[in-house]
């Protein structure tokens, strides 16, 4: 530590000493002044007292002299003379004394001399002579002398002098007192001035000393503050300005700062390096980053990174990265444990620093020079007490202590990082693999889906191609057929009439549509009127309602017939050919008409004669319609006897028939009714023709049934024959070809009937729909709509009814379910269907309002879809089309 020349203690002590000396000096000064003042005061008092005493003594002595004089004069005794003599000497002495005392005061001196003169004069001129006179003469002479001398009046003079002396003395006393007073005030002032001066000196000294000390401290403080304000910038140092303890403090602080700066340098660089390789998850990148960052910091010119790798036999340290690698590829690719310096360091686990001889063969290349390194440093990196990597650095200079510190610091975390990178790489590669696999799986599954879709498309395409082929044939044949038809038409009717008939049909078709709507309401309402149990209607009124209902029903039937007919005539009828099980036919026909037979007490018999093909390719619906017409006519016009149906293969197949098919079916309906006169046989097949007006009146009916049947038969490529005798009965025979053998013929027929080619297959055709709604009007309107589309609609008015229907028959394509129903509501019904009956047919819930809760509830209980009231018919059709279409599973 440097020797200091002035310490703070010295400064403070010196300051105090200065102040104490000042105080001492001023105290002495004042003490002296006070002493002088005091002595002066006592001088004045003493002298005054002395002067007065003197004056008194002189006065007394004079009185004594006078007294002795008088006593002598009176008595003459000698004793008095002596006494007088004594007194006289006294007075002279006293006067002398007085003179001495007042010698310094000129005024008093003059007065004292005056007094002496007067006394001397008095003694010599009056007393002495008087005494002499007495001695020599008598008493009286002396008295007389005295009396004479009175006017000399020396005594008053003396008295006057004494008084003046006294006065003078008093004046002097006053003056002296005043003087003293003045001196005392002066002293006070001096005292104040001194005090003030001491204070000033004290202030000055303390200020100087404290300033001297604090300035140095301030200096230190400012520097430290600066460092703090600059956010710990440790580059600043404190200037050494003083030579005291603060200087020591400064030096120590600066050294601390040096140390801190170095530490900070280490820490910063460590952080920087660690930050640099943070988030790196590849070992090569990690190696490169570490080498490059560390090399830059410690001014290394080379760096190599070896990572521990184990195989079955050996532990190897393999090069993973290098810094400033030249084209010679610095460093070997790998070292075994213990092999070479790298291997040795890995084995020992100690840092190794080595100076390289200048003749070293290895050179560092820059673009300008090649030079050899001077110092090498090998550092082992630990993880889990195992040397996981070795780093080697070379420098042209030497590695400083802080560089080593830095490396050690980096080393603390490097092992963990390397290991974590190794692990991350491992995990990542596994994850990446798994991810690739997942993606690959998805891609494959999508490709498969595409392929299956492609297959589907190809199938569709094939069928489309078939269709279009068929279409072309159809068109060609249609033309031929049209020609033939036209020819036949020319023979039978005029073209204009045919045209007229067509207009009529179209008109009818439109009209009947218009008629159906109001008629539906009439039917519905009249039915409701008759059905209502607690109705306020009278029986008679109910009867009226029944009549309205049945008349309406008739009217509806008529309209339907008209519509059918007009449809046929305008060619708007779809024919769906399919395999029909003919052996089932008798059962169906039986069931449909058995009650009529029972009602009229007729024999009703159906039989199949001989061998018939079990499956017959035709349109089942139309076939049944034709037979229904035959049978209802038969039952209508037969009052007694029998109605018989015979089904057999056609016995006779004409050439013309053979053109269509080899396989023909003949179905005959025979009755024992009123029969038809021969001449009327041809007209009964025309629209609105019955045998005569009376028949209409008697039997009712529209007279359209046979016309429709004939047209249907035509659509099925068949024909109808009638055999009848009036009064005996009629036999209606339907001949139908099996269309399987001649697919193209069907198309021909279809084409001939101008089936619109763009019309797609009707989804609703033949679909069985169960409809549950407590409101009949809804059922009615939906039923009308769906049946017009060709669906087969079954309806129920309560949940219970729905369940019963499903228990009896589950073969429905879709269920429409109203939710708001009395008794068991829709939710419960759906839940039972799904959970207890375990049916997964589509159920479309009809919710009353557009309420979300309703829908959630619907989904929860297992509805497939929902639609809100009021029903939009188009939406209803859409939703049904979706749920009636067979699903092609996406996955």
């Amino acid at each position: 530590m440097a020797k200091r020349k002035s310490s703070i203690r010295l400064k403070v002590t010196l300051g105090y000493i200065v102040i104490i000396v000042c105080v001492l000096l001023s105290s002495i000064l004042i003490l002296e002044k006070v002493t002088v003042l005091n002595s002066k005061r006592s001088d004045v008092t003493n002298r005054n007292l002395e002067v007065h005493q003197m004056i008194n003594t002189v006065e007394q002595s004079i009185i004594q002299i006078e007294k002795k004089q008088n006593s002598y004069i009176l008595t003459g005794e000698k004793r008095y003379i002596n006494e007088y003599e004594e007194q006289r000497i006294n007075v002279l002495n006293d006067l002398e004394n007085l003179k001495n005392v007042v010698a310094k005061q000129s005024n008093e001196k003059i007065l004292a001399l005056d007094l002496e003169k007067s006394v001397n004069k008095w003694i010599t001129l009056i007393v002495e002579p008087s005494l002499k006179i007495r001695e020599e003469k008598s008493e009286s002479a002396a008295t007389t002398f005295l009396k004479q001398k009175v006017e000399n009046a020396e005594i008053p003079n003396i008295n006057r002098s004494i008084n003046r002396l006294r006065q003078e003395q008093n004046t002097i006393l006053n003056d002296d007192t005043e003087n003293l007073e003045y001196t005392s005030v002066q002293l006070m002032w001096i005292f104040f001035i001194l005090i003030l001066s001491i204070m000033l000196v004290g202030l000055f000294v303390s200020n100087y000393v404290s300033k001297n000390i604090t300035q140095a401290i301030q200096n230190v403080k400012n520097t430290i503050q600066n460092i703090r304000q600059k956010g710990g910038d440790l580059q600043e140092r404190i200037d050494i300005t003083s030579r005291d303890e603060v200087r020591d403090l400064t030096i120590e602080t600066n050294q601390l700062l040096n140390q801190l700066e170095e530490k900070e340098w280490v820490q910063n660089n460590v952080n920087y390096i660690i930050y640099a390789y943070q988030g790196v998850n590849d070992i090569h990148t990690l190696a490169d980053v570490i080498l490059s960052e560390i090399s830059q910091v410690i001014h290394a010119v080379h760096g190599v990174f070896y990572l521990r790798e184990e195989d079955d036999k050996d532990v190897l340290y393999v090069k993973k990265g290098a810094f400033a690698e030249n084209n010679l590829n610095i460093g070997r690719e790998s070292f075994k444990l213990g092999e070479g310096l790298i291997g040795q360091v890995a084995k020992d686990g100690h840092m190794y620093k080595m100076a390289v001889s200048p003749e070293s063969t290895h050179v560092i290349s820059t673009s300008l020079i090649d030079t050899a390194p001077r110092t090498l440093l090998l550092m082992p990196v630990y993880f889990n007490r195992q040397v996981i990597a070795v780093l080697e650095f070379a420098t042209l200079d030497t590695f400083e202590e802080k560089h080593i510190q830095l490396l050690n610091k980096v080393n603390e975390t490097l092992g963990i990082s390397i290991d974590s990178v190794k692990r991350t790489m491992h995990i990542e590669s596994l994850l990446l693999d798994s991810n690739r696999l997942t993606e690959e799986l998805q891609a494959q599954s999508e490709e498969l889906q595409t392929q299956s879709e492609e297959l589907q498309a190809q199938t569709n395409e094939l069928s489309t191609m078939n269709d279009s082929l068929a279409m072309r044939t159809k068109e060609a044949e249609a033309r031929t057929r049209e020609l033939a038809l036209a020819n036949r038409d020319i023979e039978t009717r005029a073209r204009e009439i045919a045209q007229g008939a067509k207009y009529k049909s179209e008109f009818l078709a439109n009209m009947s549509h218009e008629l159906r709507t109001p008629l539906n309401s009439i039917l519905l309402l009249s039915e409701m009127l008759t059905d209502q149990e607690n109705s306020h209607l009278s029986d008679e009124e109910k009867e009226f309602a029944k009549v309205i209902h049945s008349s309406g029903q008739d009217l509806l039937e008529l309209i339907n017939d008209i519509l059918d007919l007009s449809k046929i005539e305008t060619g708007k009828v779809n024919i769906e050919f399919s395999d029909v099980n003919i052996s089932e036919l008798p059962k169906i026909l039986k069931a449909n008409f058995a009650h009529f037979a029972k009602q009229k007490d007729l024999t009703y018999h159906i039989e199949i004669l001989g061998e018939i093909p079990k499956l017959f390719f035709t349109d089942e619906l139309r076939l049944r319609q034709i037979l229904k017409n035959f049978l209802s006519n038969a039952f209508k016009f037969t009052e007694q006897g029998k109605v018989e149906v015979r089904i057999q293969s056609a016995a006779l197949i004409t050439e013309e028939m053979q053109k269509v098919s080899d396989d023909w079916l003949e179905i005959a309906v025979e009755d024992t009714g009123i029969g038809i006169p021969k001449e009327k046989h041809s007209i009964i097949f025309e629209s609105f023709h019955q045998v005569d007006g009376a028949t209409v009146r008697k039997y009712g009916g529209t007279g359209l049934g046979l016309a429709i049947s004939k047209e249907y038969a035509k659509l099925l490529s068949g024909f109808i024959q009638v055999e009848s005798e009036e009064g005996i009965g009629s036999t209606f025979k339907l001949y139908l070809p099996n269309m399987r053998q001649c697919q193209e013929n069907i198309d021909a027929v279809k084409g001939s009937l101008a089936v619109q080619p763009e019309e797609k297959a009707n989804i609703f055709q033949g679909k069985k729909i169960l409809m549950i709604d407590d409101d009949r009007r809804n059922i009615y309107s939906m039923r009308t709509l769906l049946e017009s589309k060709g669906a087969i609609v079954t309806s129920g008015e309560s949940g219970l009814e729905c369940l019963q229907k499903l228990q009896y028959n589950t073969d429905y394509d879709a269920v429409l379910m109203d939710i708001m129903m009395p008794g068991m509501n829709g939710y419960e019904v759906i839940q039972i269907i799904r959970e207890q009956m375990n049916l997964d047919l589509p159920i479309i819930a009809i919710t009353a309002k557009a309420m979300e809760i309703d829908r959630d509830q619907c989904m929860k209980v297992g509805a497939s879809d929902y639609i809100s009231k009021p029903l939009n018919m188009e939406q209803l059709l859409s939703i049904l089309r979706v749920w009636l279409t067979k699903e092609v599973k996406g996955k």
């Binding site: 994850l431 991810n435 998805q442 891609a443 979300e852 279409t885 996406g890």
Partner: protein
């Protein structure tokens, strides 16, 4: 040996296709491309890739066919319904205050998912201020998409998906039908701009608040995936949403760290607020 030869053949074929058409399949996932090529070879009874290549050179139709083969168009409405449920509940509310919402559906195929998104936005009341851009590299598929018609046979499944995605309306209100197809509401179809865009060769074309690219990246190799992700990243506004297919992930891509994960289950990410500068 055969395998190696075939690798070269495929490489050459893809090179040829690139030069002939500009479509670049070289960075597509090689196993997938191989399968597509094998599929085509099998369909046309070809023995080697070189024969196919020759055919591609000489027969315009074969080239076209192969391009169609490479384009996989598997999609559904509300595919992975829970993804859409998450979108509906967690993501759409984020867009509420925007004055305009731009959405890019990359690789839209026949547009089913774009239509689904449109329905989602409609039900959230956001459709009017939304602009949905749906792109695909296959122009033919876009023609189909623009028609907005869906085979009836798929609609049952879509209805179920819609309901599972949290749809509360009657799904049938969004379409009309004929005997073969369901036709989506015109409003929905009109709300989507279908455009041709090839992720491999084309760049970003706008800034979007949401980008959906589902089950497209599975056909790409990692390099191409990274490239496409970069395009998406550059096209997303700050805080924008990226939705991927449920088997895809952002995890191993370069841009991963610039996204925050909204849902790992549904692969929905949100672009962080920092800039990507590299």
């Amino acid at each position: 040996m055969i395998h190696e030869r075939e690798t070269i053949e495929v490489e050459l074929l893809l090179q040829a296709i690139h030069q002939l058409t500009g479509y670049d399949f070289r960075d597509y996932s090689r196993p997938s491309i191989m399968r597509r090529i094998h599929h085509r070879m099998k369909m046309n009874q070809m023995d080697s890739v070189s024969i196919l290549q020759n055919e591609v050179f000489t027969n315009e139709e074969m080239l076209h066919q192969l391009l169609q083969d490479f384009s996989i168009n598997v999609t559904e409405m509300f595919r992975n319904p829970l993804f859409f449920k998450y979108m509906r509940e967690e993501i759409l509310p984020l867009f509420k205050d925007l004055s305009e919402i731009r959405i890019w559906h990359a690789g839209c195929s026949t547009g089913e998912e774009a239509f689904s998104m449109a329905i989602l936005f409609k039900e959230a009341g956001l459709l009017e201020k939304s602009k949905i851009y749906a792109t695909d590299m296959n122009e033919e598929i876009l023609k189909i998409a623009k028609e907005g018609k869906i085979p009836l046979s798929k609609m049952k499944n879509y209805t179920k998906n819609y309901q599972l995605s949290g749809g509360k309306q009657s799904f049938s209100q969004y379409y009309t039908t004929d005997e073969e197809y369901a036709y989506l509401q015109e409003e929905l179809v009109k709300s989507i701009s279908f455009m041709q865009h090839n992720l491999v060769t084309d760049q970003s074309f706008n800034e979007f608040h949401m980008i959906l690219c589902r089950n497209v990246l599975i056909y790409f190799n990692i390099r191409l995936q990274n490239k496409v992700q970069k395009i998406f990243f550059d096209s997303l506004s700050t805080g924008g949403i990226l939705g991927l297919g449920h088997r895809e992930t952002l995890q191993f891509t370069d841009v991963c760290k610039f996204y925050e994960t909204k849902s790992i289950k549904h692969q929905i990410y949100k672009k962080k607020e920092i800039r990507y500068d590299e």
